[in-house]
């Protein structure tokens, strides 16, 4: 093999590998947090109480991977997705958990009033804005918490 041919083959190989790496980077699926270690483990009542009393709680939990232990207040299911609201009937404040579509099968049997421990990425903390909705913590990419 001539030297120039070797160079062309090498350039082609580098090009193919680079293109494949770039394609993988662009099409990388959203992160699955199910095997990640949580930053904090809390109960629903404790974290909502903390949010009520201390607004700095927002900065302490935002973007963190949080596991929450509590009762299911409401569950919304459709063919592909499950959204779980944790809380109790004594307050409108609650935690909304959007279940990761890759883990919906692990929640198919749960029902309202069941006690679960669920983990997810905290994406928002909102305070009651005149609607009577109470304070709310939102979590995405939720999956069952396993010790």
């Amino acid at each position: 093999m001539s030297k120039s041919l070797k160079i062309i083959v090498a350039i082609l190989c580098i090009g193919i590998v680079s293109a494949f790496s770039f394609w993988q980077y662009v099409n990388k699926p959203s992160k699955d947090f199910s095997n990640e270690k949580v930053d904090l483990l809390v109960t629903v009542s404790d974290i909502l109480k903390r949010l009520d009393n201390d607004t700095s709680t927002v900065s302490q939990i935002m973007n963190k991977l949080m596991a929450v232990d509590g009762s299911i207040k409401k569950i919304s299911k459709d063919a592909e997705y499950i959204t779980i609201e944790l809380g109790d009937s004594s307050t409108t404040s609650s935690i909304i958990c959007q279940v990761d579509a890759r883990h919906t099968h692990e929640f198919t049997n749960v029902k309202e009033n069941d006690r679960i421990v669920i983990k997810g990425k905290v994406t928002a903390c909102t305070f009651d804005e005149d609607f009577g909705l109470g304070n709310t913590i939102q979590m995405n990419f939720c999956s069952p918490y396993k010790k």
């Binding site: 959204t83 909102t126 804005e129 009577g132 709310t136 939102q138 995405n140």
Partner: protein, 182 residues
């Protein structure tokens, strides 16, 4: 006498709250893709409130709670397009124009027109949206499909990805509401 009075006040309060419906698990999704690339975001943590007496509807959408299939899309959506740290939420506040034609106590599907202010990316605009309210077992579900032009809300698309991203986003709203507890 005092007991009767308290019972009447309690009944009145219950009745007043029964005219309000809320959810924190409403669904809003959008698509802004092209034939080259599918771009879809889905948010199932939407807060919505409907006052059946006044016809007022409110939606609050936390931008970071949109979920995408691809990690890079999620990052670009939050950091480059919606700037979710700077503008963490979108909202809509409006009034049902044809409130008298909706019977909230009778199951059925009611075409609905809503006019109000839509705030996206820190820009607020007057919009009119046609949709429907489906009443089932006394609970309303709000459904609507509409388009928004991204440039109207100051959302810029870089030249490098102009062929991949549509100038208009198709928005789908689907929120099942519950009676507000007294």
């Amino acid at each position: 006498m005092r007991i009767i009075l308290m019972a009447m006040i309690s009944l009145l309060c219950t009745n007043m709250n029964a005219q309000k419906f809320i959810t924190k698990t409403g669904n809003v999704n959008f698509s802004a893709g092209s034939p080259i690339e599918k771009i879809e975001g889905n948010n199932r943590s939407v807060a919505a409130m409907l006052d059946a007496k006044t016809g007022t509807v409110n939606f609050i959408i936390q931008i970071k709670s949109f979920v995408f299939e691809k990690q890079l899309m999620q990052e670009h959506f939050n950091e480059n397009y919606m700037e979710s740290e700077k503008f963490p939420k979108s909202s809509f506040k409006g009034d049902i124009s044809n409130l008298s034609s909706i019977n909230f106590s009778k199951d059925g599907e009611y075409p609905t027109d809503v006019a109000g202010k839509l705030m996206v990316h820190g820009v607020s605009k007057d919009v009119k949206v046609s949709g429907k309210i489906i009443i089932k077992n006394g609970k309303p579900t709000l459904k609507a499909n509409f388009n928004i032009i991204l440039a109207d809300y100051g959302i810029e698309i870089p030249g490098a990805v102009k062929d991949k991203i549509s100038k208009e986003a198709k928005v789908q709203v689907n929120c099942s509401l519950d009676s507000m507890q007294p």
